[in-house]
Symmetry: D2
Subunit: 325 residues, 4 copies
């Protein structure tokens, strides 16, 4: 946990954006803008930058054309320039640093690093705030953009979920090197098979789930927030009519207390529409441990999660039968 | 009440469509299709035919360009050809018949008549069912059209509300000549100032409210159904961002038990988004009478109705201070 | 279809109540009143009469102690005394009449009969309307009772679903002898395996589904209406905390377009919380036919229905593997 | 803003509880437990301790019998013992400290102080977490208590709103002495008439609004969170049936983007049911300034706020006509 003098401090502010790869750029974009409700901020070469109507920055999703689906990088914003420096030093000491990136559309210099599972991440401080065009400027001075008439009511980025062959190694990296706090985890016997962590009061900004395929560095899903359960239900109707495969939900997880709907975008990446959950304000929150005994209530209601939820990630690999859900 | 032998029968099936006039055709249509969620079925001369995604017929709204806003006609479907004949005979005997219309896009021969307040109405049996184009055909075999992505979730026509200087005369006409049943009414002293009637189990297919302006034959509003209160709330956000004036709501009426949102379309006509209410299945329902004593709960919750609700109708006239709300 | 002269008429008004048997009377009642949200109207001998807050009559559910769970009878209200007479004559001619019952708490003389599957039914006209005690009288003059504070928002009886070895025989009986209209059905090859019928604009007042167990006269479920999807979600949370087994849902059927949640009351009978659906106003509605091709969308979203949904009914029998879902 | 070395730190974790006074103890408690949905944790002398089902600590509301309604104290939890020490030192330097309280049921030693308007506050670190009795222990390991079947779905304490003759002095005190961040405020000309501040990502943990009565130290309201807009609507129905006066809502504020319902508990204090809003994650959030120009959209939808909202606080004083809404 980061410290200044004798005091713990929060150096990582929040999840800033995620870059995903798609082998079907046109279809992915058509889906994201016409159905999922994101808006295009910028386009350059093989990448398109997108945001939801309630996101305050230039973008929260970057989509890049590639041979296979998956996550290209996960970006965190630091709380201040000194906080950024402190985290860079820590990452360098840990030995996982990759060096500075000059910046990208929408943000300033970013320090790149990899988690133990091999997912590329970056951290930066300077960021470009969203400037809506005149017609989309709202009289709600606290909101960055008019709520659109069309699309699912996707409001803001919420969290990212990554697959890792060793969950514990990855969550310890986030705790020790970046100051994340473990909020909940699943432990089967001695093995931690899922961990939910955050730097904010959200129950998770990021989660790791165990990849039983033998691969590492894969992507499970990126979640956007909708305002309530009614939005999930409306979204389910709209997704069905758009011919999009809903993998599971609307339903409720016991873990995170979240209401969820999982779907596959045309490029093959899993996305989540998420609402509910709970906020963690106590500074001395004890991580919640779920065990094999909780299996029957892990989906609190709404049907069981299908096998694909435990085996499918991007890029796809030959599925191996999941043993430790 | 219509009778066959000694038995009461239902000859009028339901509200089929309403034709409204607008002095701002382009703006009205833009609003109805881009915000309010209706779809264009057909266009001819100065009229455009529209329907909501859950309406089964060719159209439920006809919009016609005119010098002033208001209602052009209200159309009812008969339950059968003999039922149509019986009603035509009754209307002729009553002396309010205007004769047969050959038909219109979307339906067959219609018999025209006027209510005591002078609103033009028609009744027909033959109707054209909606045929969606291939891309909008849904796998939900019981639904006429795919639910659109986004937009206010306007699902189907619900009811029409007309202004009349003499509420009692008009509701008696509907009861005696067309077999409507009085469901609820407001009586202040000796005077009936509002009446809600239906031929279906809906608490109202039509309502009359007292016009205190001295005018007659004016239009109060046309209501479309949305699926739940969450839709009203989302609609309120979208309407505000679209610059549409919300007159009242989301809130709840005691009368009809309905959740409502009233707005003005750009042509000046009042529209309602409606949900909730209740269904009346008992054949011997006693009309509910509201009196002056109920004034404090007439809006069950959600703020008071503004004066305009009691004085404004289309076409607009110089408002006279309402005395009998 | 009933006729008076040359005209079709509706003689059956609506579903009035259902009597179910329970082998665990105390637990069933505790659940129904403390969790499910019904209120006790009356108690006599081995039976208790219950209603939801929005039911207008004395009761909509009668629970009777018995050795096994199941349905004891299904009661319909006629639209008028002559309508009742006409139906009794038709039932006698059909040969399924059982004779007159003097009445029961809450209603007058009832004519008893059995459907081809052996379910006992009755039809009556005279009924006792609910009279709330003073503290539960609402200022909403159109509502029979105050909405209770909290609880699952169970509002009114909606429909009943019965199992039958021969679906077609039973639905034809309802059509020909009682004037029900077929709204939707599932036909696999030549065999009708489910039929949804109504006398009201509700998409179903009653359904028959094929019993593949070899038994006949069994009960699938009784459904109560809640106002919206949010109620289903709240109910799911409450049922889980009350230790009640949710069989399926909250989710959405393609058939009936209904949002559902199925649960088992402690006596073993399946109950449904239902909302959504759609209303059928056209007098010439063509029954919707679902085939084997629709299997993948039969649950529109929310997970698959478990095997128990297709095999379990009350009284329970040795399940036989379902072949024709 | 608190600093450790060169770095800003968060010393105040969140709003822990509020103590309100009531002149009608029995009625206030009956309402809070039977309708509002709180549970009694403890009772001693003239005080009762309460919490909502989703509150993690022993209590979030203490109700104390007194001659007049109002707020007795507002309690904040520190993030750590050193953070507590740092804030005590700062408060002493500011000259508003009142000294240490040994503790109270549910928490350890607390340092008392007053804001410029004279509201008593306290800050502590040690706290007692809620231990549900066995029957109310939920299998949701991340939740402190089963969701109850009864009552409005009040989930957790959200924020407190205080009246002050000088808004600016009070919000600066919170910023400078306790590290709160100004999120939004209303400025009319030169005068700040309302300020919304937080230490968490909630848009406000506390607000000050201008008291135009000449009094100081008064209470505007305490807000509890419900999960969504549907809960507000259900609550409105339940409150009306319980005879509780709803002052305004369900409706939506532009400020805070919150959905609200204000009511008066029987003792005369205003309570709010709150949901929606938005979360502030950027570390460099610029306070949002609302001016006279925004008056027409200050209630985003749902009717105007009544005069009482701007003049009534507890204890009640002779209302002075509000000039600066």
């Amino acid at each position: 946990m980061p410290a200044v003098g004798t005091e713990l401090v929060q150096d990582v502010a929040h999840l800033a954006h995620v870059e995903v790869r798609t082998p079907r750029m046109a279809d992915t974009l058509e889906f994201l803008t016409a159905v999922f409700g994101l808006q295009e901020s910028h386009r350059t070469g093989s990448s398109v930058y997108l945001r939801a109507w309630g996101d305050y920055y230039h973008h929260t999703l970057k989509v890049t054309e590639a041979a296979t689906a998956g996550v290209e990088h996960v970006a965190w914003r630091a709380v201040s320039p000194p906080a950024l420096e402190r985290r860079v030093t820590a990452l360098q000491q840990w030995g996982c640093g990759r060096g500075w990136l000059e910046g990208d559309t929408g943000h300033g210099p970013a320090y790149q690093f990899v988690d133990p599972a091999g997912h590329l991440m970056e951290i930066f401080y300077e960021v470009e705030w969203h400037e809506p065009r005149a017609a989309m400027r709202t009289r709600l001075r606290n909101q960055p953009h008019k709520r659109p008439i069309g699309g699912i009511g996707t409001r803001r980025i919420d969290h990212v979920n990554l697959l890792a062959s060793d969950v514990t190694a990855n969550r310890r990296f986030l705790e020790d090197c970046l100051g994340f706090r473990l909020r909940e985890h699943i432990v089967h016997g001695e093995r931690e098979i899922g961990a939910w962590l955050s730097v904010t009061p959200l129950v998770h900004d990021i989660a790791y789930m165990r990849d039983t395929s033998g691969a590492d560095g894969r992507f499970h899903h990126l979640a956007y927030w909708v305002d309530d359960a009614g939005d999930l239900i409306r979204a389910a109707d709209m997704l069905m009519e758009a011919g999009i495969r809903i993998e599971a939900g609307p339903a409720k997880h016991a873990i995170t207390n979240g209401l969820f709907l999982y779907l596959y975008e045309p490029g093959g990446n899993r996305l989540e529409l998420f609402t509910g959950g709970y906020l963690i304000f106590p500074p001395d929150w004890e991580p919640v441990t779920w065990t094999e005994d909780d299996r029957d209530v892990r989906v609190w209601w709404g049907g069981e999660l299908p096998d694909s939820f435990f085996t499918y990630g991007t890029p796809a690999v030959e599925p191996v039968k999941a043993k430790n859900r």
